[in-house]
Structure formats: C-alpha cells, structure tokens
Symmetry: C4
Subunit: 387 residues, 4 copies
C-alpha cells in the first residue's frame, strides 16, 4: 500500500478519527447489555476511560472521584502537585495569567524542584480515600523516584514520554532507564508509552508493560506535530498497536491492553478508538472541563513548561458540568462531551457489540468529516446564520 511521495521516498497513508465512521451491522443491542469493562494488570474498571497525567486534569481529589465512578485518573508526579506543598495558589496563577506571559510563567513555576516527600504524600492521600493510586513519571523521573513510588504503595505506575523506546541512546555520562528491569522490580503494574507502531508496541509488551499507551501528536494540548513534525494519526496508530497486542497474546497468552491517548474529545472519538482496536482511552481535555478539575477553566500540555523547547498550548476549555455528568450523565449538553459512558454503551448497542472485544471488530468506513461547502452551510445554520 506504499505511496510514492517522490523518487526514492515512499509512505503509507495513515488515518485519523476525523476520517472514519462506524457502520451498524445486522444486529442491535439494548445499551444496558453492553459490557464496557477493562482490566489493566490486577485492576478492573467498569469505565474504560483513564484521565491523563496532566496538571490541569488530575489532582488527588479528581483521582479519588474517578476511582469512585468506576474510571481511573493518573497523577503526574513531576508537575505542580509534587513541586508545591499547596498547589492551588500555583494553579490559580496559571489560570489568571495572560496569553503572552503564559509560557514564561510556566517555565518559572516548573523550575521549582520536585520533592520526593510530596510524591509519597500525594500517593498516600489517594490511598487514604480508598481510591486507586495511579501515578506517572517520565523515564528520567522513574530512575530518580521509582523507589519512592514503590514504597508509597501506588497501585499502578505509568512511565510516559512523548515517545518511549526500549533502545534509547544517551550521552555517555547518563544511563538510560532500563524498562525491562524497571517493570520487573517495581511491585505494581506498569503502563508504558507513548508509541505508535507495531514494532515498538511489541517491544514494550515484551519489556513487561501491563498496558501500552498509544498516540503521538494528535492531542488538543499537544503540538508535537507542529514543533517536531512527528505524529501518526490515531486510527492507524491504534490499529497497528492493537495488532501487536493480538500477536503478542497469540504467542504468549498474555493480553496487554492498548490505551489510546490523545486527540479524544467526544464520545464518538472514544467509540472510534475502540473500534480501531483500543481497550480503553486516556483523555485530558474532556476531563479538564469538569468543575472538579484542578485546571479551572484551562488545560495545558506537559511539554509546555520545557525551559528550552516549550510545546503545547494552554487551552481555555471552560467548565461544563460535574465529572459524574461528564462520565455517566445525565447529559446536559448534546454535543457528545457529556455522559461518555452512555455514549459508548449507546454506540455499542447501535453497533450490536456486547463487549469491548466485539466493539473492536465493528465495521469501519473511511468517511472524512472535512469542512466541505455543505458542512459550512450547515454550521452556519446551527449558529443561527441561516441565509
């Protein structure tokens, strides 16, 4: 299927969620019959939605609420929460600063050192409320703070970078994280990512991942593609990595869930992710719109505070309802951003899928939702600009 870009340079066509749609088959199902459970390591969740390890999305309280609702939130252990004893005045400053000062302020705020004692404290705060303590570190952070996380008794550890590989070249003086050893030694399931290809997904599974995160470049608060040129549209990335999961299971008997991460805004996006092969999704901006979200009305990427090459933008997402409404309804918005679980169950019912495995098999069509002239006309009508 290779396409010639120019002499000697071929490429394949990759597809994003905006380019596909799901096709109802010959069976339908009452939504109440749809089973949406996912299991990562020893953790089973009713809602296959994980909140991203981003400072505007998950704090201790949000992690607890998500856990209670049947979902899960991952706490970023290298952000505001572990740099500041009281993170809320800091979050207020981020929300109040003007657009022009934002990057500078972020660089300043994230220059404050990470405090290992705060890492332990945040994990214990979550555990104290009987919730799942899922936490996230970069590979470099894992070298430094892995031991602390293990001792604090976290339930799940996520090693996450824009791109993760099992073969990382470092300058001579710096030893890279050995992912295999880390997975073996830390006493909890480890999610690894992000990756976008079959080969890397397979390597991460072989390294001991309990789940892999799939997605580079597609997120709302992510500008990897603009700044670095790097990215793979999600439908293709998820399908490729899901194929690695299936091949790995065939070979080893172990089933390693694929978590689609990035670019997911609506219930429809979640449904399409799973239809391409994902077992669950990781989402940021939809959760950032909850009134309980730590970011206030804002959401920003975790590469933004980079002192040298900030990437990612602060987005004003607003506040549209409670986290319960966003996950389980009842919806007060009709645009697909409330009652994400209800949307998934309704879609599964419409498509006749009894569980996530069946949902991964539904028929997909390529159907670009491009901005055609007709669409602009419809949009104008929706905005009350009827000609």
């Amino acid at each position: 299927m290779d396409i010639l870009i120019g002499r000697g340079k071929t490429a394949r066509r990759a597809y994003g969620f905006d380019e596909i749609a799901l096709v109802p088959g010959q069976r339908t199902l009452d939504p109440s019959l749809a089973d949406t459970r996912v299991t990562i390591g020893n953790i089973e969740r009713e809602i296959p939605i994980i909140a991203s390890a981003m400072d505007g999305v998950v704090d201790v309280n949000m992690a607890v609420l998500l856990s209670e609702l049947g979902a899960m939130g991952v706490l970023n252990l290298e952000g505001i929460q572990t740099r500041y004893e009281d993170p809320y005045p800091v979050l207020d400053r981020i929300a109040s600063v003007g657009k022009d000062e934002f990057v500078g302020l972020m660089q300043e705020l994230y220059a404050e050192p990470i405090k290992p004692e705060l890492i332990a404290q945040r994990i214990q705060e979550i555990k104290a409320r009987n919730a799942i303590a899922a936490v996230s570190l970069t590979p470099a952070g894992a070298l430094k703070y892995g031991q602390t996380v293990a001792e604090a008794g976290a339930d799940l550890c996520c090693i996450q970078a824009t791109v993760v590989s099992t073969d990382h070249l470092s300058p001579a003086a710096i030893a890279p994280l050995d992912l295999v050893r880390f997975c073996q030694e830390i006493p909890m399931p480890v999610m690894l990512g992000n990756c976008v290809t079959y080969e890397v997904a397979l390597k991460l599974m072989k390294a001991g991942a309990a789940a892999i995160l799939v997605g580079i470049g597609p997120g709302a608060a992510c500008t990897s593609r603009g700044v670095l040129g790097v990215g793979v549209p999600q439908a293709t990335a998820v399908a490729d990595c899901a194929a690695a999961r299936d091949d790995y299971e065939r070979e080893t008997g172990r089933y390693i869930p694929v978590i689609a991460d990035g670019g997911i805004v609506t219930g429809g996006d979640i449904c399409k992710c799973i239809a391409c092969g994902a077992d669950a999704v990781m989402i940021g901006s939809p959760i950032a719109r909850a009134q309980e979200a730590p970011g206030g009305d804002y959401h920003w990427g975790m590469a933004t505070p980079s002192p040298v090459l900030p990437r990612g933008t602060r987005i004003k997402v607003g506040t549209t309802g409670t986290i319960a409404q966003i996950l389980k309804g009842p919806a007060k918005l009709d645009d697909g951003t409330h009652n994400l679980l209800g949307a998934l169950k309704t879609s599964m019912g419409t498509l006749g899928a009894k569980d996530i495995k069946e949902m991964q098999q539904v028929e997909v069509v390529i159907a670009p939702s491009l901005l055609t002239e007709g669409k602009v006309y419809q949009k104008a009508q929706q905005l009350g600009m009827g000609k």
Copy 2:
C-alpha cells in the same frame, strides 16, 4: 476496494453528497417532460419528497398541506403532538428558550406522557381534511401504540429509529418488536428504517417493508456521528441499499422504494440522492423553513429530548417562504432551497432523465466540494469582501 487503516483493520471509502456531482449526457429534456412520481405501497405521490417525522417540521396542518401539494408529511406520534392536547404553547416555549436552557427544557417537555387518545385524534384530524395520514413510531412505541394507529385508520406507518435491525437483543424482561409480524398485522404499508447497508436493507424488505429509510448520521440536526461515532456518508449508503432493492425485485418481483433520509438541504442534494439510487427523499430542515412549519424559526432532532444522552442540536433555520414556494416555487431564493420540485425537474431535463428510474442511472463523478483556497476567495467575493 478495501483500504488498510492499520494492521488488521481494513475499511472501504464511503462517499457523501458533498463529494459527488452529476454529469450531463448526450440527451437533454424539457423539464416539463420529467416524471417525478413515486409509489409507496398503494400511495402514489407526484413529488418524491417526504417531510420528516420531527416536531419542528410536521403537524396536522403541515401534513395536510404537503398532501395537497402532491408530497407527503409524516407525523411523529411520540412527540409534542401526542403529549399535549394543545402543542402550540409548548412549541413557542422551545422557540423562545436560550441556547443554554434548551436541552434541559426539552428533557422536561418530553417527560410528559404520550396519550393514546391524542394519537387517534391527530390521525383523524388529518383524515378529516382528506389528506394522507402518514405517522411514525419508534420500535418500542410500535409495541404500545400500533393497535391505536391501526384503529385510527392511518394510511402509512413508519417504524423509525436511529438504527433499526431485525435482530435486536433486549434485556430478558423486554420483548423486542417483531418487525415481520408487525408488517403482516398492521393494515397499512409500513416504512422501516433507518439503515445504511445492503444486508440490513435486504432484511427489512424481507420483513415486509413497503419502503425503507436510508441514512444514519448525515443530517443537519443529527449528531450521531459526533456522539456515537456512527454514520455512513449518504451517497454510499443510498447506492448500497438501492442495490438491495434491485436484487430483491429481481428475486421477488416486488419493488420496495428506497427513501434517502438525512443531510439533504438543497435541490442539488435531492438530485444527487436519486442519482445514487433513491426513489424519494425524506427531508427535515428545508421544510422547517416554511412559514407553516410548527417549529417557528427552529428545527431540532428527535434524539435531543433523551433524558440520558441527548443528541442533536436546535438549529435556527429561519423562515424563507411558504411550503408551496419551497416545494413548487416560484423561487424567491437563488440558493437551491426554493422550488425543490422545479430543481429536480430542471436537473432531470439537464441530465436527460425522463423519470426517476432514468435519473437513478445518470453518470456521477467524484468531485469534492472542499473548501479550497480558491473557494474561500470566491466566497469572500460573494460576501462582498472582494480584495
């Protein structure tokens, strides 16, 4: 023609109306010679246009007017008209509420129970004015109110849901509607839908449909694709279901018309639907713009009032003329939304098609009307923004 989205996930490319155009052939025709008739069950109509069973589109009066003009309107039996003795104050409230309160108000208004006596009354009001009483129920509603509809003497019954199938799994306590039995027992033609695939279209025909409704996800007031990820672009859906119709006729001798439903805004859209194989179209927003439409200046989808997962948007469509002008002209607008019958006849003349069967055979090209830079330039000129 399968395209690889990723390893192990293939899809075919589906096409929407914005992506096609019709090609004149070697013959042209005076528009007055174009025969646009369609027959559903025992009902023949001069104009192959059916108004959608939506509360902002069809009430008793609109059903009568459409019938008199040679078209047909379907009355929604599970909406405002059968929940309220006097629906007009309710419609006024819907039109007057602000955007933010809309979904909540709809959920409240549609919580009022459906009254079987109003079902009978509305049907009789239409019949009393010698018009065609075409009515619509959901599958669940058909179980409850089918008998009432039969007794009230309706002329045509439409069983319609976002997606309908002959194989629906329900919780143990609830028996699903048996479509075959329903079609056999109710003493009138039954239109079934919506569907988008060859296989389901064929099953609905075999179940006894007098016509099938084709279209999931493409409509202006429909957000199935955003909320559920579900949908098939209409050109492909119509062509596939028309192929089922032709195969079914070849096998049984029975001709079951295909009604394209959703996303149709202009005369050009109607022409393209038929060119892809439709026998008639069902339209909502173009009729909602008539001064006789019950929705006032507004149009909204029938999934909007869902108490759990509202979908669909209220659109301000405005009022552009009488229903007579919209269907038969003379047009006072030049954008293809007035004189829909005239547009169809002129297009058939231009394309040399003497009747709907010939129109289904005209040549189609794939010609995306994307928003290119040139188009934006032209649009800017049309808006008086000439550089």
Copy 3:
C-alpha cells in the same frame, strides 16, 4: 479508473483547477517569445481571453475595448441590453438594490420583452466602432432571433445554455433548435456550449461548431451544482473535451478550439486551463472588476432572473483597475488578477512553452490547494494576524 461509490454505482474522480499545478520542465523561455494567439473560425486574437456574455461584464463599449486590446467580448442578446433602449438606469438599479430584494428585482427587470430592433442596434453599434461583434443567444433565442443577428452582420454567434446537446426532447408543440442546420445557415462562425464530456464535445463539433465552450457548474456566479447537483470540475472537463478536439482533427483535419468557461479568477487559472488542453478561456468575474464593466461593482449569473428557478448569485466584485490593466498590465495588484496576458506569457516562459499548443502539453501535478492548518496559519500572517 472507476471507483465504487456503493454497490452498483461507480464513478470516476474528476479534478478541478484548485487541485492541480504546473511543473516547470528542462527548458525556460523569455516571456516575450511566448505566442498566445488563438483562431476561432476566421477570427484571430492575440489574447486568448473572451469576456462572458453576461450583463455585468459586456456592453457595447466593453466589446469594443476588448476587441481593440486583442481579446474579444460576447454581448448577451437576451439580457438588459436588448430589453431596454437605455440599459444604464436599469444596471444602476441592480447595483443599488439590497440583497433581499435582488432576486425579485431581477425577475421583474428581465420580464421586460426582448426587442429585435435593439438586437440589431447593439450589433451595429459595435461594428460602427470597427470592433468584433460577437453575440450570444440561448437555443430558444436562436430560433427567434437568429435571422436578426445574421442580417445585422454580427461576426460570431454563440449559442449557449447551461447544458447544450444535439439531442433535446421538447414537448410535442415546441420544435427544438436544430444545431446542424443553424450552423450551416447562419453566415458566421458559431460557438456552441456548454458541454463537459468527450461525447457531447464531439457531437457539437460534428454539428458545425467553430469553437466549443466547456464548463458546467464551476463559475463564481453559477450555482448549478448547488441547485441542480450538476457539474464537472474544470480540469477534467477541459481535458476530456480537448481529447475530442484532437480526435476530431485527426479524423477531419478541422481544428475546433476549446474554450474553457467558468470558475476562472486569476492568471494562474488561465494557465491551468490551457495546460489541461484549452485553446482559450471565457471569463466573467475578472472582467466585471474593470472600471469600464457595465455591472458597476457587481457581477451576476444569467440564470438569476429565471422567473421559476433563479440560480446564481450577485457578487460584489469591486473595481480594481481599467480593462487594459486587467488584460495587459502593468499590474497594480499582486494577486494574479491584473495583467492576465502577462501572467500567461510569464507562465509559458517559466514552463518553456512557445505557443498555446506547447502550453497544452506541459506537465501537471495533482496538488490540492486545500485549506490545511498550515495554510490557515499563513493566511493569518498575511492578514496581519501573526500570533
């Protein structure tokens, strides 16, 4: 190359000018060496540009100016110029009316009957100033006024409708125009159109056309595609009809120029038309922007005044310079709408094409100028909205 839209419906992909670009080869040329001449019947023109028979574009004076500059303008004999002794107050009314009254006013103004004596008078006014009198009639008009045109001594007659065919079915009472007989009997070259396919182009050539007009649906003031669903993107239409011209020449030795008509805005569009096989272009809106244009700041389509099904829009094109500047420069605008001949010669130089026949052979790439994110960024910069 057929693509499956759905079961039983195939289509080919057609291309528009926004989707192609021209590729420089191994030779370049000084623009002064580029020969742009075209010959239609016995009329040779230095500039292969013909102004459209539209009331906002060509009046007697414009026809004379274009003729003097080396181009040609076609006078519409069924518009304002032949319905009103003094057309200028009428043109002023069109320019001064508001958007909402426009269609109604057009229908009223064009209800005034055509006067044969004004047909003769306009032709003689052009001839009196030693200019080429090229005029246009619809097929119906040709039946009525062909004789008048012949007697008034016009130099070229254009029989033009949205779509023209040699096989037109009329109601029994009305005889259609016999194109073959018309071409034989009228003592001047006849341009026929519009068409978009190889087969019809060939039939029009065989009917006796001195040139054919190619283009349905692509123009700025044309809404055939929206209202009727009819249209073929120009790059494909021109290439197909040019192939008919070449085959016809091979068979008969007669060379019938192909005139691309519709959707042409810039010099680049003209160059692309010729590169796809056109011998010349017919343009409306670029000429409507001349200070000598009869439409004032406006341009509108000739289907707009239809009493039953008005199509086409009035566009505010503004006034950007003299017709001399627009055709031959020097340009005072840098957007490709001034010095169209200079642009053509510079493009031919860049592409190494010595004459129109060589320009028809230059390499083309498919390169959609879609509105990508990058383009929007660039546009924002151009508009001074740099982030």
Copy 4:
C-alpha cells in the same frame, strides 16, 4: 502512479508538508547527540538553516549574526541594499505604507538602479566582521555583476530565479547566462535554483552547482501558484531532487546538498524537509520575525517589485524575539517558531536519527492536517471559544 485527469492528460499526485508526518522508530536518542552539520562547497555550518536572500530578511548585520550563530544568511544583491547607500529609510517607508499603496511604492523604490560599488561595499562590510559573505543574484544579474562579486571576495554565490534551467531561450539580442561557464569561472561555490524536478536538479549539478535550491510556489510570500499556476508541493519536490543528488553522487562521487526553499514556517516543517531528503533549508518568514530583521514587522517576496507583473505579498509577520532565540532558543513561544535548532535536535532524538543522513531516512506517513470538523473544534477551544 499516473492518475488520469481527463482523456489524454495524466498527472501524478504531489505531496506538501502539510500532508505528511514523521514516525518514530525503534530507537530514540538524546537530542544532544544529534549532529545537524551541513557542508556546502568548503563551508561547514552547524545549523542547516540559510536565511533567504530577501530584503526584509537579510542585511549585513543579519548576515553577520547568522554566521556567528552557526547558520548563514544570503544577501540579495539586486534589492534595497545595493540600490540605496542608506537602505534603512527605504525599509521604513515599506513598513509604513498602507496595503493599497504597497505594490506601487515597491515598483517605485525598485526602479532605482543597482550600484556595483554598493555590491562590493556590502560584501566587504560582511567580511570585515569575519562572517560568511553569501550573496544572491538573478541569472541576468550574474551576467552584469558576477565579476564584481568575484573581486569583492564573496564566499558563496547564489544564482536564483523563480525557476532556473540550463536551457533558456532568449530573444536574439540577449545572451542567456551560461551556468556551466559561470560556475567554472567564479572563484567560490555556487548555489543554483530554484528547481523542483529530478531532471533539472541533475542538470544543475552537472552544471557545477555546489548546492541546489529546491522549491517553486510553496512560500508564504510567494504567489507563483496563484499568478502563474506553477508550483510543486515541497515534499515531492525535495524527494525528487534528493534522488537526483544521490544518483549524481553514485555516478561522480560528488555530494551536492539539496536546500529546501519556501513554505517553511515551523521547526516541524524543517524536520519534514530533511526527512524527505533535504540537507538544509532556506527560510524567509521565520527569520523576518527576528527583532534584528531589516523588514521591521514585515516580510515580502522578491517578485513583488516587478514593474509589469508583481507577485508576492507583503505579510505582517510581527516581531517575536531575537534571531538567537529563533534559531537556538530558549523558546518563549510554544508554536514551533522559536528554537528551530532545538526542535530539529529534539525531533532527531525522538526519531533516533544521529545525523542529517539518518534523518533523511526516517519513516514518513501521509497524514493530511486538513481542517476537519474536529480540528475546527479544537482550534475554537484553543482560541478560548469553548462551547
């Protein structure tokens, strides 16, 4: 891979940077290990970025700064700098004039003759500050001023036109520049361009180019495609010309760098250029945004002042930081326009490419960044227009 546009006209699909993205492989790399060096003739640069020979981009001071930073700037010898002893009041006029007078003013200002003594003076001013004196002439200018450039001791000479070829037809009275002889006789490396095809790239290498410039039509300040219809999307053009470079090296042992020129705005664009085969890039608008740039807040194309056919637009690019920040950071913007070298190194690290040759081999996917509905939604959020 030829696609049929219409009968007898085929074309291949060409790709632009907005249509591709880069795919991480199995290895990653610490950015500090990425070697970005490029060598042109005898000149080695750490940063493979060359500032365009445009009057708003490079003056003597900017050339010196770029040289000191490890990059290079090319001085336009046929612009403001060599027409005016003191160019700064002239640049101020360009920045202060309104949009409508811009083209006329440019035509007036560039009517001032070029002064050979200023050519020599500018080169010596650069050399006096120990910087690389890279200069640019058109082919016509090379005939007139080549000797002056040689005597003044420039380090690198760029012969650049919109399109350059080794086979240029001129009117009898004018001898075209003999590129082969020019390259042989001038005592410095010569960069030739622009070109977009394998064949022409190969001919320019055979003519003696030390590097070739690739790109016609894609730049922000360039309107070749609109005015002339001419252009090739950059990903395809670069890949084709890189193949010529590799074939030429295979044959002769000489490695002639390919410089991608035009349309590059962000770090991501630079990365994609190299991934398609470029050795370095030439950029205009990103440098024009430096506070040291001579254009003030503006940037304009070098075809704009044409007295007959001005092309190219003045763009308000604004001022976003120092040239050091733009090239080497630390970035104060998160949109990919600051720290271009850092972005390249980070991208190379992410993709596991140790040097430019490895970066040319990374995997590419076709992944159009089209404005889909989802993207518009995301953009609206970024602009604080959250629904």
